[in-house]
């Protein structure tokens, strides 16, 4: 438990969660977008996860709060990838909550072997050194990948990040995208070029990777030659990392993300 200047999570977490005491036995997923945690004492907690647009207006936040009041005793949680989660002990509330979320335009999904929401940076909205936009590119890509968000049919979970410059403050993922608009060109507002490249990688991974293989494990197995052949992407000199410290970063590029 946290000690220090911030609040205890028990102050804001769902009361039933505190009662259960975080003593979990196992968890599974009854359907896409729903987690079921079972405690050693037999208590059950359902989590419903839905996608949001990350840059949220107060109307949207209040709408999400209303749904939390109606179904989840006034408690919500946000994930690293800006998904919202509602936790309930009453299974009967799960289905109507999903209906309410989807009716308001929040897709329910992002669990298990799905494509999660793309975490992203500020882009032209607020960055002071952007090579390109972020929110708009992600909107375009999530429209394209929406189907894979609401179903669990990938080999394993697929986490994607995008950044609006090569500093990559967008973080790490199975696919970390640095969108540029010069080499190669990328055209606003629909960003068809980046969508096509990412789409090809997702498609090749989905069709060829073994069950449970993450993106990096799949590429390790087939090799980079196989990757470029299978995705039909052209290998160019721009793919070579010529930075003097590349040997070190390449050797440590498997990330643990908390």
């Amino acid at each position: 438990m946290f000690q220090g200047c911030t609040t205890e999570n028990t102050q804001v977490a769902f009361d039933a969660l505190n009662k259960i005491g975080f003593d979990w036995d196992y968890h599974d997923r009854p359907r896409t977008g729903v987690l079921r945690h079972v405690s050693k004492s037999g208590d059950v907690l359902f989590t419903v996860r839905a996608g949001t647009q990350r840059q949220m207006d107060v109307f949207t936040i209040r709408k999400l709060a209303d749904i939390g009041d109606d179904f989840a005793d006034g408690h919500v949680r946000f994930t690293t990838r800006s998904n919202i989660e509602y936790m309930v002990t009453d299974e009967a509330k799960v289905a109507p909550m999903i209906v309410a979320l989807e009716a308001e335009g929040f897709p329910v999904g992002g669990t298990g072997a799905s494509v999660l929401m793309i975490s992203h940076t500020q882009g032209w909205l607020h960055c002071d050194i952007p090579g390109t936009d972020a929110s708009g590119v992600v909107k375009g890509m999530m429209d394209m990948l929406h189907k894979e968000f609401v179903q669990e049919k990938m080999p394993n979970r697929l986490r994607i990040t995008t950044s609006c410059c090569q500093i990559n403050c967008g973080g790490q993922g199975d696919i970390a995208i640095n969108v540029q608009y010069t080499k190669p060109p990328n055209n606003a507002p629909h960003w068809p070029e980046v969508k096509e490249v990412v789409g090809r990688i997702v498609k090749a991974y989905k069709s060829d990777a073994k069950h449970w293989e993450r993106m990096g494990e799949w590429i390790d197995r087939i090799g980079w030659n196989g990757f470029f052949e299978m995705t039909e992407l052209t290998f160019t000199k721009h793919h070579l990392d010529t930075w003097t410290g590349a040997r070190k970063t390449i050797n440590t590029s498997a990330h643990l993300h908390f």
Partner: protein, 162 residues
């Protein structure tokens, strides 16, 4: 400092003053929730003091889309009177979008585990409507709550719960 806030008493953005956003308009369809739709709602239905700013936000962002250019100057300690937790931004095209000339991020530490009560969310919305920009990002990536632009100074803010 609040008397320097030049937009709080501003009338709502009139129809004629609304910037056309042909580029951004194309980001409103599709199945994923649209941030453009949300910001437009703030422009049209948000608190009166913030509507003009949202209008200029959309105008500048659309110009970025037209020209493939960002228009923010940043800094680390350049917002007078503020210390850590503020990510300052000053528009380079403030002559065209004066209501959006400063648009800073206020970063707030989220609760552990990113668990919020809906009361807390509403309080944050209320505070940010009064003092900020009506725009908030909640996520756990860098331990903060951001909302755009910080008023109470002479400028506007963007609050973000990172």
């Amino acid at each position: 400092m609040s008397d320097g806030d030049h937009t709080d008493d501003a009338p709502q953005a009139g129809k004629s003053a609304i910037h056309p956003t042909p580029q951004l308009d194309q980001l409103e369809d599709g199945p994923w929730p649209s941030f453009v739709t949300g910001i437009k709602r703030l422009r049209d239905e948000g608190v009166p003091g913030n509507q003009k700013m949202m209008n200029d936000l959309l105008g500048q962002l659309n110009q970025s889309y037209e020209n493939k250019m960002g228009y923010w100057k940043g800094g680390t300690v350049s917002v007078f009177g503020y210390g850590g937790g503020i990510i300052p931004r000053f528009s380079e095209v403030a002559d065209k979008f004066p209501e959006f000339k400063e648009f800073h991020t206020l970063r707030v530490m989220p609760p552990p585990g990113f668990h919020y009560t809906t009361d807390l969310l509403r309080q944050m919305c209320d505070i940010w409507e009064e003092h900020g920009s009506d725009l908030i990002a909640f996520h756990g990536q860098s331990t903060a709550v951001r909302g755009h632009h910080v008023s109470g100074l002479h400028h506007r803010k963007h609050a973000s719960c990172l």
